[in-house]
């Protein structure tokens, strides 16, 4: 009985620790003006003024759309390239396969700052500066390594005989990928796709460095650049409102895909 109560307390503490910051941000976003500096755990007179200010003060709708575009494109490209790479790395025998796999993993070891200057040159070279494509391109550095790794590991777990049975049944490589591999890898793709989406959605440094104009910015940068009436004032209410707006879609996505996410992350652990 006591262990159970203890466990419950532990869970509550953990939940408090995880959820309180978000809750406080939410409360602050509904608190008007300077009232925000009185610590409260419930908005005294809730108002949507902060939200209105965020949407009118800058092209925030446009920023959200940018983020959605960038993140979605990163997910699609990462999964597409990831599946093709996983097939090669997981199934085809060739010299240097292991080396290639570790090189891909090695890419994710470099801190973003280390590759920033080099990436900037490449972005300039392709004339992508201040464009969303620059962000898609650079975010893939973050998402591709783990996408390839997770999908390769998953591909290796799939029995070769299933693939051979399909070949005997007359499946072309295209049919093999679309009708056999994609359905079987669904859970793994949902998991890695979601992680890639979150990574791209939250990415800040590249977005700050490779875009200039308000209309090309993604949400994290837009929030960071929200300014008050003077340089001595930080509009906390607006920032909290913006944060709430951009957090909701992520929570929604995770909730929608929750079951598949768990299935994907634990895939291969137990043989079905």
């Amino acid at each position: 009985m006591t262990t159970r109560a203890g466990l419950l307390i532990l869970w509550l503490l953990l939940a408090l620790f995880l959820l309180f910051p978000f809750y406080y941000a939410l409360v602050s976003s509904f608190t008007p003006g300077s009232d925000i500096f009185n610590a409260r755990y419930w908005p005294a007179s809730p108002t949507l003024a902060n939200y209105q200010a965020v949407m009118t003060g800058q092209p925030f709708g446009r920023n959200i759309l940018n983020s959605v575009l960038v993140a979605s494109l990163v997910v699609v490209l990462s999964l597409g390239l990831g599946v093709l790479a996983a097939y090669a790395l997981g199934r085809v025998r060739f010299a240097g396969r292991r080396l290639l796999l570790y090189t891909i993993l090695g890419v994710s070891m470099f801190p973003q700052v280390a590759v920033l200057a080099g990436l900037f040159e490449i972005v300039r070279l392709f004339g992508l500066y201040d464009s969303l494509l620059a962000l898609v391109f650079s975010n893939m550095i973050l998402t591709l390594p783990f996408t390839v790794w997770v999908l390769t590991a998953f591909m290796r777990e799939l029995p070769v005989e299933i693939e051979e049975a399909a070949i005997m049944d007359g499946a072309t490589p295209w049919v093999l990928v679309t009708r056999i591999f994609l359905p079987l890898m669904g859970p793994a793709m949902v998991a890695t796709g979601l992680l890639a989406f979150i990574a791209a959605w939250n990415e800040f440094l590249f977005a700050l460095s490779f875009t200039l104009s308000n209309t090309q910015r993604t949400v994290p940068v837009a929030i960071a650049l929200i300014t008050g009436a003077s340089q001595y004032e930080l509009p906390w209410g607006n920032i909290m409102a913006a944060s709430a707006i951009v957090t909701v879609p992520l929570i929604g996505l995770v909730l929608v895909f929750q079951r598949r996410l768990v299935a994907g992350l634990t895939a291969g652990a137990v043989k079905g």
């Binding site: 029995p159 005989e161 299933i162 051979e164 399909a166 005997m168 049944d169 007359g170 056999i180 079987l184």
Partner: protein, 351 residues
């Protein structure tokens, strides 16, 4: 139905030879079993016929057609895999009809063929289930139905029974034999299980290290093994082997000094004498051996005996007492039941 001709096929991975120069003609409608220990190349050979493995040299003909460079789906063959290899995300109907759909068969054709295959294998009530909801035996049936539905001229089986329990294996063995009779198709079957091979095969191909040891009817291989390996491979308990100290005319002298009369043949070549446990006779005048263990098998008993210090033999006979351990008996080796092998482990000419 079609004949299959392996025309001097060989396979090597790098410098490792997996299949060495093999020539085999399989008649239309024949049930051929490739049997051998693991690493003998039997599965590789089957996969070469299937087209899942390339051929290093030689040709493969199905019917009169050279299919050496044909993709698997265009060879007119179906294959049943050891792990069944069902598509986990499709229901049974989807699994069975996948090949037909890819071949763009009409809906009517697919429906009638699936129904016929399902009826044949008694899986009609399972058609809407997923493979995960099926037992091992049911998955096996679905895998066979998937092979049948494409109406191939040659069926390939890669150890299809090895994942089933013993009782179900014996049962399914009979069903496969019935299936062969009713379809009349050519079947090529790979197994490491000699009982499965003996019971199913019209002809057996015993492989060892990528080389054919012997090809023939099961009884022929059992009665007249061409090599020592084939003799030892077929039969349980395995054939007993005696290595005599010397040969004097038509008599082999063992290390213990005991003598065994040999049949009329080129006895000077003899290096090993093989004799099956059931061919050894007990009693009368003969070689004295001590029993160290008796196995009760119900319909018969197996006595494990020591002959001198060098040989342990198995003797199969109903007449051995179970409490005969540590006692002595006399064994007689009938000359016409001996298998004589030479220095190269080949059957001695004239034996």
């Amino acid at each position: 139905m079609a004949s299959v001709h392996l025309d001097n096929v060989a396979k090597h991975f790098g410098t490792t030879e997996v299949i060495r120069q093999l020539d085999l003609r399989i008649d239309s409608g024949e049930f051929i079993v490739f049997v051998g220990a693991s690493g003998s190349g039997k599965s590789t050979l089957l996969r070469m016929i299937a087209g899942l493995e390339t051929v290093s040299s030689g040709r493969i003909l199905i019917g009169d057609r050279d299919v050496t460079d044909c993709p698997p789906a265009e060879r007119g063959i179906s294959m049943v895999f050891q792990s069944y290899a069902l598509y986990p995300h499709m229901d049974v109907r989807g699994n069975i009809s996948f090949g037909l759909k890819l071949a763009r068969s009409s809906h009517d054709t697919i429906a009638t063929r699936v129904a016929r295959a399902a009826r044949m294998l008694q899986i009609e009530e399972l058609l809407d289930r997923k493979p995960a909801q099926l037992s091992g035996g049911q998955r096996q049936r679905v895998a066979i139905a998937r092979a049948i539905v494409r109406e191939p001229s040659v069926f390939l089986f890669d150890e299809p029974l090895s994942n089933l329990d013993a009782a179900l294996r014996a049962h399914t063995r009979v069903e496969i034999a019935e299936l062969h009779r009713s379809l009349g198709a050519t079947m090529i079957y790979v197994t490491h299980d000699q009982i499965e091979a003996m019971s199913l095969a019209d002809r057996m191909v015993v492989l060892k290290d990528g080389r054919v040891e012997q090809i023939g009817r099961p009884e022929e291989l059992y009665r007249r093994p061409a090599t020592r390996y084939v003799g030892g491979f077929l039969g349980t308990p395995a054939m007993n082997f005696l290595v005599p100290r010397r040969i004097e005319g038509r008599v082999a002298v063992l290390e213990s000094g005991d003598e065994i009369a040999l049949p009329d043949c080129d006895t000077a070549q003899v290096k090993t004498i093989g004799v099956r446990p059931e061919d050894i006779q007990i009693g009368g005048g003969g070689i004295a051996v001590s029993i160290f263990h008796v196995e009760e098998l119900g319909e018969t008993r197996i006595a494990h005996v020591r002959l001198g210090n060098t040989h342990e033999l198995a003797v199969r006979s109903r007449s051995i007492d179970t409490d005969a351990t540590q006692t002595w008996i006399k064994l007689h080796f009938p000359a016409d039941r001996l298998h004589l092998f030479d220095r190269d482990d080949r059957r001695v000419a004239g034996n």
